[in-house]
């Protein structure tokens, strides 16, 4: 066609493709390769060991412990986060006072609420971890949560929080929920805005109340967005690295109660120099993530509603 077209295409495509191939694609391929060796990081020491690392992984009590914690989070965190996100988005957009000439309305100040709710999403995870570390501080006077409980006369509920084996994982999960609810409020608000108003109008004329409107109209029409949000939140629940690394007692403690797969991988590689074994964990994480995404999208599928 035009003069110099291919030279232009190659010139424009080569630099980004080169950077991407070197730093993203080649590590992806190498991850599988390294997982089949006993590499300790020194050049020339890698020995091919086949599936040994995966057998070792299968028998590793520590890894199953970490995986179990990720699965707990995977079951709970998306459920609570999406439920709260839906609830708030519905209240902000539909649950407002009905003026005589308005079928659906948001509550007053919904823009301000959305602004505040979304804040944790733009702040670094490190800062969130440090803040919550102070909230959970076990000291009855120093800890923000404990001193708040004391001030409102609920001393009985004071706890060691992150130092308590049975509570620590749930305390960290709560921070994940806290940080992401605002994201889903914004996401679901955008989806709700695209639902035609006359659908609500018809429901109102038929005498539907708020909860009916929510479960019969809003939720079914939002199902696609909920499903994508579920996968997104699940992938976040499979991570949890920064929160656990910064907040938990002795990295993953007390006594392994908050250990998660990414932390295991990080310590195995960069503390213990067992790169081959850690790479096998990485491959296992890819499998778990993919399985989760495929299963969710498969089982959550419903008849698509057109409007």
């Amino acid at each position: 066609m035009q003069h110099g077209k291919y030279r232009f295409i190659v010139g424009f495509l080569a630099p980004p493709l080169l950077v991407y191939a070197v730093f993203v694609v080649s590590p992806f391929v190498q991850a599988f390769q390294i997982s089949l060796t006993d590499w300790s990081g020194l050049v020339g020491t890698a020995r091919f060991v086949g599936a040994d690392n995966f057998v070792r992984l299968w028998e590793s009590e520590e890894f199953w412990n970490a995986l179990r914690h990720n699965v707990y989070m995977l079951a709970l965190v998306p459920l609570v986060t999406l439920a709260l996100g839906l609830f708030f988005a519905f209240m902000l957009n539909v649950g407002g006072r009905r003026r005589p000439n308005q079928v659906v309305a948001g509550v007053a100040g919904s823009r301000l609420y959305t602004f505040v709710f979304f804040l944790p999403q733009v702040i670094s995870i490190t800062i969130i971890a440090v803040i919550w570390f102070n909230i959970y501080n076990p000291d009855p006077d120093d800890g923000m949560l404990n001193s708040l409980l004391d001030a409102v006369g609920l001393e009985g509920l004071q706890n060691a929080w992150l130092g308590e084996k049975s509570l620590a994982l749930w305390c960290i999960s709560a921070v994940m929920v806290w940080g992401h609810v605002g994201f889903f409020v914004v996401l679901f608000s955008a989806a709700m805005a695209s639902i035609p108003r006359d659908v609500y109008e018809a429901a109102l004329l038929d005498g539907a109340g708020r909860s009916h409107t929510f479960f019969r109209i809003t939720l079914p029409l939002l199902w696609d967005t909920v499903q994508t949000g579920w996968v997104y939140m699940g992938i976040i629940a499979l991570d949890a690295f920064a929160l656990v690394q910064i907040m938990s007692v002795n990295m993953g403690g007390p006594d392994g109660a908050t250990d998660v797969m990414p932390l295991r991988l990080y310590l195995t590689a960069f503390r213990d120099s067992q790169y081959g074994f850690a790479a096998a964990m990485g491959v296992a994480m890819l499998v778990v993530t993919m399985a989760f995404a495929v299963l969710t999208l498969r089982f959550a599928r419903r008849e698509r509603i057109e409007y």
Binding site: V22, S26, T114, F117, Q121, Y232, F241
Partner: protein, 298 residues
């Protein structure tokens, strides 16, 4: 939306301004929950701000108390003693370079993929898009060795090394987003420029990029926030203290915090690290929210 000039007779017997019964009660309840959540989110963040003016013992023994004396020295301690100034400059250099690089390389690739037909177009596009589904954790080990054993020089703990990695890991979403954006732009203007004798390169920089400005702003903010707050990649690839970025510096101080350490300076440091993203968020609230949520719907 219904305007006040078109009242609906079907909406009830009341005069304008009279509420249907029941709505009011529910509203007190729903507002209560919304206020409660806003406080749960807002107060911990404000707490960082007011603690940045307290001394260590005040933060520890009276966590909820407002500062009685304003300890301005926290800020200079954070900037100088706790090295936040150095980490801030490191972060600014790396993020400045990588956001610029991501925008330039990302829109170059996206433009070619969106506007030209050539063999392999689809393959390259899907290769980029597939990158969105690779878990970064799986890649960090090999990436560490790619950087360490880079031909000629180690890229570990260097500005240019981090910049290249940030660009590479931002490309999948940037290419995905910008390709869709370039497809929506009209072709007639670019064709006119070509007929007038402009080269492809000139058409791209002088015609197409200015037209793509709204898309560039959204994706630029998206990349800025993500790269400013990046934690895992610098943790693994940047283990030399004088090259630390803010997130690393804060994590290090927080992990080492004991009774002898300066909590006031840590709080001031957190405010320093948050300030740029909060300013961007306050100014571009709509674009930030739209950009980050569109990232989830990839």
């Amino acid at each position: 939306m219904a305007s006040p000039r078109t009242p609906r007779p079907s909406a009830g017997p009341g005069r304008p301004g009279v509420r249907p019964s029941g709505g009011g009660v529910l509203n007190v309840f729903s507002h209560g929950i919304l206020v409660l959540w806003a406080l749960m989110v807002g107060v911990p963040l404000l707490w960082v701000l007011w603690s940045a003016f307290k001394d260590s013992s005040g933060i520890l023994t009276d966590p909820w108390g407002l500062p009685t004396v304003l300890h301005w020295e926290n800020w200079s301690n954070a900037w100088n003693e706790a090295n936040m100034g150095r980490y801030f400059v490191n972060t600014a250099i790396v993020v400045g370079g990588s956001v610029t690089g991501t925008m330039v390389l990302g829109s170059m690739a996206a433009y070619v993929l969106a506007r030209f037909t050539f063999p392999g177009n689809r393959f390259v596009y899907y290769l980029f898009v597939a990158g969105m589904s690779f878990p970064v954790f799986m890649l960090v080990i090999p990436l560490f060795f790619v950087m360490r054993d880079f031909p000629g020089t180690s890229l570990l703990a260097t500005y240019h090394g981090l910049i290249l990695v940030y660009i590479a890991y931002s490309l999948p979403f940037t290419v995905f987003f910008m390709t869709a954006f370039f497809r929506t732009l009209p072709t007639s203007v670019a064709e006119a420029a070509l007929i007038d004798g402009a080269s492809h390169t000139r058409t791209f920089f002088q015609v197409m990029l200015p037209m793509a400005k709204p898309g560039l702003i959204s994706i630029g903010i998206f990349n800025f926030l993500g790269q400013w707050n990046q934690y895992l990649l610098p943790m693994v690839l940047n283990q030399q203290e004088d090259k630390y970025v803010l997130t690393q510096g804060l994590a290090m101080i927080a992990l080492q915090q004991g009774y002898e350490n300066d909590w006031g300076a840590l709080m001031a440091g957190m405010v320093i690290a948050m300030l740029p993203v909060l300013v961007v968020y306050a100014v571009f609230q709509r674009q930030v929210q739209a950009g980050l949520t569109s990232g989830a719907l990839k």
